[in-house]
Amino acid sequence: MSLSNPPDPGILLHREFQPGSFQAPRFLLLVLVLTAIAIAADQFAAPILYSSSPLWATATCLLLVWQRGASPLVSGETPIQFRFSMRRVAVFVAAHVALTLVARWLSVALQPVAGTVTAGGALIAAGKLIVLLPTIALLPLAQWKKLTRTYRAEGVAALVVLLTYFPGRAIGTLWPWYGQALGRVVFTLSRLVAPGIGYVSNLNPTLTGADLNVTIILACSGSNGLELFDYLFGLVALLDWNRLQKSRALAGYFAGIAAMLLGNTLRITSLVVLGNRGFAGIVSRYHISAGWIFFSVVFLIYLSIAYPWMLKKRADTVPERETR
C-alpha cells in the first residue's frame, strides 16, 4: 500500500482558520487512527490496561494534525512521502497482541493495587502508557524524526493531554501535602477578613468559625475546576489551532491551570468568610452550584486576558515558509 502526501504550501495563504482538512499527511492520520483503534482493542481485551489518557492524547494529536491541514514544510526539506509497509503493520499488531497477553497474565496480581492512590497504583497507571509504544514500529526512525520536526506543536499538545489532562490521580496522590497547603493559605486569607477563624490540621483540614466550620475534602481540591478548564482550553486549541502562537498557547495553558487553582483557593476563602459573616445557610445550601459559577467566571476572566495574547498577530498568520 502506498500513501504519499505532497503538502501544498500555498493552501494556507489568505486563510486565518482552516476547518480541518485531509490535506494533512494521510499516512500520519492513518497511523494515529490505527493507534487509537489498537489502544481501544487492548483495553477491551485486557481491562487492566484501561486509561483514557492515551486515547485522548491520540485523539488530540489526530484532531490537531487534521486541523492544521497541509503543513508548510521545514525549509529545504523534501515533501513528506512514505510507503506504508505491511511488514511494519504486522509488527505493530503483534506487539499489541503480546502486550495484551502479558497484561492479562499479570492482571490477577496487579488488580488489587490498580486504581489505588498508592505508589504501586501510580506505577501501574504509568505502565499503562506502554500501549503507545508499538506505534513507533509503524514508521522508520528517519520518518519519525522528520514528523517530529514538522509536527512538534501537535506532539507537545498530545503530550500535555497525556500527562496533565486528567489531574484527579495527581491531586489525589499529592492531597496529603496539597490539602495542607491549601488549608493554610485559605486560613491565612480568611483570617484577614474574618479574625475569629481557627485551623484544625488534618488530612482534610478544617477551618473553624463562630457560625460555620468548613472542612476541605479532596473534592474541594479544584480538580473539578481543572477539568472544566481542560475541556474549554481544548475547545479553544481545536478551533483556533492555526491562529495560536504555539509557545504562548503552551505557557497560557499552564498559566490557566495556575489561575484555576488560585481561583479555587479564593472560592473556598469566600465560603469561609461569607459563612461566618451571616450567610452560613446560603453557603451550606448553594456552595456546589456557586463553585461552578465561580469557575466559569475565573475561566472567562482568564480567557479575556490570555486569548488575545495567545493569538498570532495578523502579519504572522501567513505560512511559516513566507516569514522565514
Partner: protein, 54 residues
C-alpha cells in the same frame, strides 16, 4: 445561530432527572454543574473569538 444553540442547550438542561424518576443524585448535580459551566465558558469563548476576528 448562537441564540438557537442556547435555547437547545437550555431545553436539554431543563429535561434533567428523566432517567432517575425525578430524583437527582450528587454525581448528577456535579455533571449538570460541569455541563452548565462548560456551556457558559464555551459561549463566552465563541463571543470572544468573534470579537477578535473582526
Amino acid at each position: 445561530m448562537n441564540t438557537a444553540f442556547l435555547l437547545v442547550s437550555m431545553l436539554a438542561f431543563l429535561n434533567n432527572g428523566g432517567g432517575t424518576g425525578g430524583n437527582i443524585y450528587g454525581d448528577e448535580i456535579a455533571g449538570i454543574g460541569l455541563g452548565a459551566a462548560a456551556l457558559v465558558g464555551a459561549v463566552g469563548y465563541l463571543l470572544m473569538r468573534r470579537r477578535n476576528k473582526q
